[in-house]
């Protein structure tokens, strides 16, 4: 299959991007400055991320759409206000996760942002569940640009006046020189920032404008170190079809009002696990010293018994040390539990720790 390119591909090239294939797309892993500088620039200034490979699924419908979606997602969608977003999951009957996503209530229905590697399958699953009653559009004509970091609000507001009035996890349509844009105050770096949905033919000019105002392009490499420092899950690593939201320590994302009656796909398993606890749970892990424990590193207790596995591990540039996340048996999930990581045949000490590794700077309550 031919590799897909986003509408910013030429711009990446002219900014000396190193490319990798990611979910069938040619995406920038880094630019000339490298992952650590890009990471730090995002934390101190403003980084631009091309996330156009992610799915933008618009579903249109009346009240009955909300009812149907509540049978799928563990959310209180009836009480979700217009332009407000929630983090959620598409699950199977065993509460295994097909995808994690952000769903936003828009005027005509919902906008769901899906992972690139999952979007086509998600569309198929949702189409089968919803039938032909609602109009669904996995929109390939729109790009998705994230701008993240403390200077992002000032930079973006100078181009799209009014975005500074958005609260975290809310969005709205804005008119600008770049036509109609849907902007949400959100992101996946642990920083204040925005995601902008823009038509493909306007995306390059828009990003060039952001660069002129002082923001810089950031690759997927730094996106990964940023999200890991922020303790955020990445599908295919922390989350997959064999993990449930309770095991992933994401029970906060399940609406409380939905737990008493269930009625969503996977609710039985979720309710059981909420009551009895899951046998394995996702935790933060800090190796002692500088050792990096990568994905699939085995985790042991002090009696040589394997108690879990690392799902993501790297060097955290802002933490200035190695960081990881992984799953451990629940009796080892308490903060400060001593564990051992097997790297290159030797066992190295590490500690279970609180997440995030890096404190978040989200903006709450502008209004």
């Amino acid at each position: 299959m031919e590799i897909k390119k986003t509408s910013l591909n030429k711009l990446h090239q002219s900014n000396n991007a190193k490319f990798v294939e990611f979910a069938g797309y040619e995406m920038p892993i880094q630019y000339s400055k490298g992952i650590i500088e890009e990471h730090k620039f995002t934390r101190s200034h403003s980084g631009i991320f091309d996330v156009s490979h992610m799915g933008q699924l618009f579903i249109y419908g009346d009240e009955s759409l909300t009812e149907e979606l509540e049978k799928i997602f563990p959310l209180d969608l009836k009480n979700l206000k217009l332009n407000c977003s929630k983090y959620s999951f598409l699950m199977n009957e065993d509460a295994g996760i097909y995808d994690d996503l952000i769903i936003t209530k828009i005027e005509e229905g919902y906008l769901i942002i899906l992972n690139a590697a999952c979007k086509d399958k998600d569309f198929e699953i949702l189409s089968n569940l919803l039938g032909s009653k609602f109009k669904m559009n996995l929109d390939n004509n729109r790009s998705l640009i994230a701008i993240q970091g403390p200077k992002s609000v000032e930079i973006l507001n100078s181009i799209i006046n009014g975005v500074d009035q958005l609260n975290f996890m809310t969005g709205n349509w804005f008119d600008s020189d770049y036509q109609k844009l849907f902007v949400t105050r959100s992101g996946y770096t642990g920083e204040d920032g925005f995601e902008i949905s823009i038509s493909n033919d306007k995306a390059e000019k828009f990003v060039e404008n952001l660069i002129q105002k002082g923001a810089q392009l950031i690759g997927l490499g730094a996106r990964d170190t940023l999200r890991l420092e922020a303790g955020l899950c990445l599908y295919g690593h922390e989350l997959d079809i064999n993990k449930t939201p309770v095991e992933a320590n994401l029970r906060w994302a399940i609406s409380k009002s939905r737990l008493s009656n269930g009625g969503f796909i996977g609710s039985k398993k979720i309710m059981n696990q909420m009551q009895d606890g899951a046998s394995q749970i996702r935790v933060g892990i800090k190796p002692e010293g500088r050792l990096i424990a990568r994905e699939k590193t085995k985790i042991f207790d002090d009696t040589d018994t394997q108690i879990g596995e690392i799902t993501s591990g790297t060097f955290g540039p802002s933490v200035n040390g190695p960081i990881a996340m992984g799953y451990v048996d629940k009796e080892f999930s308490k903060v400060d539990t001593k564990i051992l990581l097997e790297v290159r045949g030797k066992k190295h000490p590490a500690n279970v720790c609180t997440l995030p590794f890096y404190k978040k700077n989200y903006v709450k309550g502008v209004n």
Binding site: G34, I36, G221
Partner: protein, 126 residues
């Protein structure tokens, strides 16, 4: 000091008397990206030509470091273990990895000179 020689695994080596100093090339650091971890062989241990003699990790991945010649490890550069970013800053100078006491100096003969290595690096990168 001898002429700098290079291996296909992107190490450089110089010889002074019977002691070789070994590090990784600038080209290697450019391929690896930001280096955040380095593990060196133990002093007193013996390493064999083309065998592993350490590890470097970038933000992206771990890579083995090979030794282009055999010998006994007589010194290691603790400064790059304490601050691996030094490897990106000065890979072919102050950020050497380890020193070996060589037994068979003819092992140097099969290694590339600068011109040959530059050509090799350019070709292997494309």
């Amino acid at each position: 000091m001898s002429e700098v020689k290079f291996s296909k695994e992107h190490e450089w080596i110089t010889l002074e008397g019977d002691v070789a100093t070994i590090g990784i090339t600038k080209h290697a650091t450019e391929m690896l990206g930001d280096i955040v971890f380095a593990e060196l062989p133990e002093k007193g241990s013996n390493v064999k030509k083309d065998g592993t003699a350490g590890v470097v990790e970038s933000t992206k991945a771990a890579s083995d470091v090979y030794t282009p010649v055999s010998g006994e490890v007589v010194d290691t550069n603790q400064a790059i273990v304490d601050d691996p970013s030094k490897i990106n800053e000065d890979p072919e100078g102050s950020a050497w990895f380890f020193k070996l006491k060589m037994k068979d100096q003819s092992e140097m003969d099969s290694l590339m000179n600068k011109e040959e290595y530059d050509k090799f690096a350019k070709e292997s990168a494309s």
